[in-house]
Symmetry: C2
Subunit: 745 residues, 2 copies
């Protein structure tokens, strides 16, 4: 089956390089419903690739701690012995006790050092928790999201986008369409969520889209086996400061290989560690696979099983033939789809980061496997950003800045097309407002990647949960089209017409159905299929065998045994043929975006607080760009008068007509409170009506104001919101307005 993004790296707590980011003063972060996305098989809560550097530091502290403990123990023994020894002087005992005290203090210091390292350093973990809580509170209070069906107690893993969240999601998707679909002239399609079983059998999801589950043997409650094991190991590591370095290494190893453990191995570990059900402490069943697709039935008769799609990509693959034709039978081309996807998570955690329904935006770029160059690669080749190639991960290094063109030319990134999309994804995310220092492209390790994949890179964004994979960019070779070709019998292939016919020599295998029928009866078909499926090397070997010995043993997998083939049963010969075209299954490069996760990280990266000018309260601000902001402008009459209200309403109407989303706040609250309110949902501009002829425009982050004609205000904000002018431009064009402090926060 497709491995989606089977490995994550919530490596933040131990990776020194990234930790530093958390120590900055008013840092940036957030939490939204669909950051949730939940789209990734393994996702965020699986283990990170082993970080030798960080691991090493921790191990050193653990070793020092064990040594200190040993010293404390031996000195305590010495004190006990001294006290019990007859005739020893008080002074000697006191000295021994004093030494013990010093050793204990030293032990305490090392223990704290370890605890601190485990928590991500200094104010790290606590700081992150607090920061996240502030962001989440703001998001819930201002209805960026809300737990779904709250009045009925909610359903784990389901969240609603509220008005602000919904507006941001629409903006992100519009920009996605502009940046990818429009820019590359991609063929966007829109397929149903309800999917018949056969499609997902072909893709492998019916068989393998599973997580291992254990059941509480008494209550029947379900848990993810790997979660329980991981939680156990993490808790031991975090709380068990007395853990021996060997034990700690073992637990860490378990976390590192969690993804690769079979049901048997997971079960054995759970038994070995005596892990029980979290709340009840009841014994647990053996782990068994649970399919994560929501199942349903199509039509009334009940004999057409279906599923809610776990990804949007399959809708594109099954349409390949039509899309290729639509594109004039030319490669390369890309198809794209935005839509809902579904995963019936066993026990959703991490709030908005792992949900049961989420919006995916996927691109399938089809390309000739023999030519993965990209015509527009030069447009991104100069970009330089954080990349984390697999070698660096395996040797314990950190992500480092690499020039994209170099990464491709040196073979770090497999090919130009893959590189092009990595560059485009970088531009997309940073233009949205993701902090480029907290964005890295991490290459999949060999054990993360499906056998057929040529290369995979995840765009990971750092947030308070660690590094979260938000976009996966994979070269999936020809796997998907081949799988559907095989299952459907429809050839999902492309052709390259030769300028002139080419003469090629081909090995032609012709089974003699008559002879094979006589010899193998009902098994004939299987033998024929096996013969036709031989590689050229196998066929050549058989040819040699038949010619020298007259018969060969031939292994037929579908029969589970070998059969004896005689020369009369199959003819193998080299033939020259004129070929006019080459037929091949295209490779597919797939950038797949977890829209909710991106939005979640955007929230965190956009959030900051600043002290109010009037009192000491901290005010929350989302520093969204106009591209992303849920509303582009707030219109506020300075004080409540009919005349000001009229002007405000007229400006609001002008804005609406110009397609600029806006809110009008005519409540009687103080202007400072109203600014705080609009800053808190990230509205970049505010028009304050303080006269009937001219008004001020305020920019959220700088809090600078300019004065413009009331009739002109909407147009100026439109220019700003559409990006035609910058704030600096308009500052230069219009007089600055200075408010008395009381007017502002």
């Amino acid at each position: 089956m497709r491995r989606l993004w089977p490995l994550s790296s919530d490596t933040l707590s131990l990776s020194g390089g990234s930790r530093a980011l958390w120590d900055r003063s008013p840092p940036l972060s957030v939490f939204l419903r669909q950051a949730s996305q939940a789209l990734f098989t393994g996702g965020d809560d699986r283990s990170a690739p082993p970080m030798a550097g960080a691991d090493g530091a921790e191990a050193a502290i653990r070793r020092a701690l064990a040594e200190k403990q040993a010293a404390v123990d031996s000195q305590a023994e010495a004190v006990r012995e001294a006290k019990s020894r007859f005739g020893i002087s008080h002074a000697e005992v006191d000295a021994a006790v004093e030494t013990l005290k010093v050793l204990k203090v030293e032990h305490g210091a090392v223990a704290r050092q370890l605890q601190s390292a485990l928590n991500g350093g200094g104010n790290g973990a606590r700081g992150r928790e607090e920061f996240r809580q502030t962001v989440v509170n703001t998001l819930e209070r201002r209805m960026f999201y809300t737990p779904s069906f709250k009045i009925y107690g909610g359903v784990a893993g389901l969240y609603d986008y509220g008005p602000n969240g919904c507006a941001i999601k629409n903006n992100v998707l519009s920009f996605w369409r502009q940046h990818f679909v429009l820019e590359e002239n991609m063929l966007e399609v829109d397929c149903p969520c309800v999917t018949p079983e056969v499609v997902l059998q072909a893709s492998g999801h019916v068989e393998k889209f599973t997580d291992l589950m254990v059941k509480d043997e008494k209550t029947g409650a379900c848990h993810r086996a790997d979660h329980l094991l991981k939680d156990f190991c993490k808790e031991k590591l975090e709380k068990g400061v007395t853990l021996s370095p060997e034990k700690a290494a073992e637990l860490r190893h378990v976390i590192a290989v969690l993804d690769d453990l079979s049901a048997q191995e997971l079960g054995a570990k759970i038994k070995e560690y005596g892990i029980t059900a979290p709340d009840t402490k009841n014994p647990l069943s053996d782990p068994y696979p649970f399919n994560l697709m929501f199942q349903t039935s199509i039509g009334p008769a009940g004999h057409c099983p279906g599923y809610m799609r776990p990804e949007t990509a399959q809708g594109i693959f099954v349409n390949f033939k039509d899309l290729y034709y639509y594109n004039g039978n030319r490669l390369p081309f890309a198809a794209a789809q935005i839509g809902q996807a579904f995963r019936n998570e066993i026990s959703p955690r991490q709030g908005l980061l792992r949900v049961r329904e989420f919006t995916l935006a996927e691109i399938e770029h089809f390309v000739d496997p023999e030519d993965k160059s990209h015509a527009k690669f030069s447009e991104v080749s100069e970009l330089e950003f954080l990349m984390f190639p697999k070698e660096d991960q395996l040797t314990g290094k950190s992500a480092k800045k690499i020039i994209l063109g170099k990464a491709v030319s040196e073979g770090t990134v497999n090919n130009e097309t893959l590189g092009y999309f990595i560059g485009r994804v970088y531009l997309f995310l940073t233009q949205l407002g993701i902090n480029k220092d907290r964005l890295r492209f991490r290459q999949h390790l060999p054990n993360e990647m499906a056998h057929y994949a040529a290369d995979c890179w995840d765009a990971e964004i750092e947030c308070s949960f660690g590094w979260i994979e938000c976009v996966g960019i994979a070269d999936r070779s020809a796997y998907d089209l081949r799988a559907h070709t095989e299952k459907s019998g429809v050839h999902l292939v492309a052709h390259e017409k030769f300028p002139e016919p080419r003469e090629v020599e081909k090995l032609v295998v012709v089974p003699s159905k008559k002879e094979l029928g006589l010899a193998f009866k009902g098994n004939q078909k299987m033998v024929v299929q096996a013969l036709e499926a031989m590689s050229e090397a196998e066929a050549l070997e058989m040819k040699a065998g038949l010619e020298s010995k007259g018969e060969v043993e031939f292994q037929v997998c579908t029969l589970g045994k070998a059969v004896t083939l005689k020369k009369s049963m199959v003819s193998i010969s080299r033939e020259k043929k004129k070929e006019h075209q080459r037929e091949f299954t295209p490779s597919v490069i797939e950038p797949s975006f977890g829209i909710g996760r991106i939005i979640y990280c955007l929230y965190e990266h956009s959030f900051y607080t600043r002290p109010s000018k009037v009192d000491n309260e901290l005010l929350n601000v989302f520093g969204f760009s106009a591209l992303v902001a849920p509303k582009k402008c707030t219109v506020l009459p300075l004080v409540k008068t009919d005349a000001f209200d009229r002007v405000a309403k007229a400006i609001s109407r002008d804005l609406t007509k110009a397609g600029i989303s806006n809110i009008i706040d005519i409540t009687g609250t103080s202007i400072g409170k109203r600014y705080a309110r609009t800053d808190e949902i990230g509205v970049p501009f505010a028009i304050t009506v303080d006269s009937t002829t001219s008004v001020t425009i305020r920019e959220r982050d700088s809090r600078q104001q300019i004065r413009v004609d009331a009739a002109e205000a909407a147009l100026v904000v439109k220019e700003l919101a559409d990006g035609q002018s910058t704030w600096a431009d308009v500052m230069w064009r219009y007089p600055t307005h200075t408010t008395p402090i009381a007017d502002d926060e």
Copy 2:
């Protein structure tokens, strides 16, 4: 349960007024995936309200036909008798035969007249079929839509939007957001499709969202009972020209009341008419209800049943409390949602008009039931368009033009808010490109409307299938919020604060729990609840009874019996209270848009053909406005040279940068063929590169061309596409370019 849009009116075939539209020369029509929508319970294929006028005409023809038949029969008898009579003259026999011939010719004419009336007149039915086929072929060939999972044989009722359809859908949704959400500052939300059972129990869908189904008793194949009965009646009516007027009236009546038939009545009719399974002719089971929701299970344990939502509205209702708070606890306000909805149709028909998954856009406008005025009603009150009030339907009249303001002031439309949305929907649809003469607002008849609804109007658009309901606009009173209040125990109410407290006299019922406990033990709670639930009238009656007789009999429903209450058990008194606010459940006005159906009708209304200028071939054109068109511009080098290609690519890049979707066609095909290709997908503008310095811009419908600087071309097209300039404007500003015929089609 909510009746969605339970009744349709595919009245086209018999309604004279509408029929005429089909007789126009190059008429307009189409067929898309999601016109499909399928969102309407009864939808398009249920019966129309009886059209007395049309019915009468048909009955008259049937009577005339029966008379002619009788005359033919009697004359034939006369001829037979004459021939057999001995001694009759040849001349006499010939005269009788001649008379018979004349009668037969007359009979034939009347029969044709009837057939023609049944087919919707003249070239009606056939013309519609042909027209639809042309449109559908174009749509499929140019990949506006495609049956989903085609390589696996497809699934009935599931369609994909291909690249052109998807682009149009995105444009329609963007405009919907601009026209409704932005304009009214609606609170847009985005809730999951997966919905727990309790929500849909409260809404009534679990119990009542069903269609009646019959099974082929031998094969188990499922059919909609009403479909079979309706098909039977229609076929008899259409083919049975010898049908007696009485029988015809009966069949027509069955079709008219189809919606109101119970399972028993439907079953009886099926038996009476001897209806069997369509293909196999096997006997059928009795009809039984089949729930149309796709069922699934949430979470791994299997004890949390869920469904794929059948509408998006419930997500808004369950969020009412938060949304009301978000809106500053003020009414009125509207929430909106765009999203997928699902209906597991028994046997989807009518192609794209009835599908199993579709996009809904719904608005829930919450309003004080005591004040349904609308502040912006004056903005739409002057609009005049086709309305079809229930009285006119019942008296056999046709839809007529009514001024909206008058319809509201005269009470035809229940209230201003409902009227406001009718007006806004009219503007939305006509601005998209729906022909205003083929759009009508039809009021629901009493039997179509749920008991709680105050008034309902459907925006129906005429297409080749008849009049299709595409938007439902209903005043659903307080039903939905009350249902969720009851089920969840969370009070979904609003408050109106009084400017100053009001003194009100209230009847206060205070049960004495002690006395009741002694008397009724475990039943006490039920008695108390029944006492508290009494209406004021009931309480007053009890008060009187207790005061006169000292005790009363009191029916407690939950106990299923009456109990005897003594005076000591309950005190009932009038008390004066100061009230600071009024608490009430808001009414909801719900405009609900079947996006796919609207797009389908838009296709039909936009399509036309015109003869090629070079040969006699008919060329297909979709006359989409720039607002809707899948691409705004095509860029074509007149002939294939490197220099022209370079200019074309530069212009295409300029357009993309300006956010104008475009295609570049550098194939070697003739310019005429390439124009035909871009016209066929409805691209409004084409830039033809015929020099490296200046280029031409061609408008699709007029085929006029202007000449502009190559560097300016993208900007001019942007102006046109954004609606800042009309074609007439730019025609005036730039020189006209006249092409030699060979250049154009």
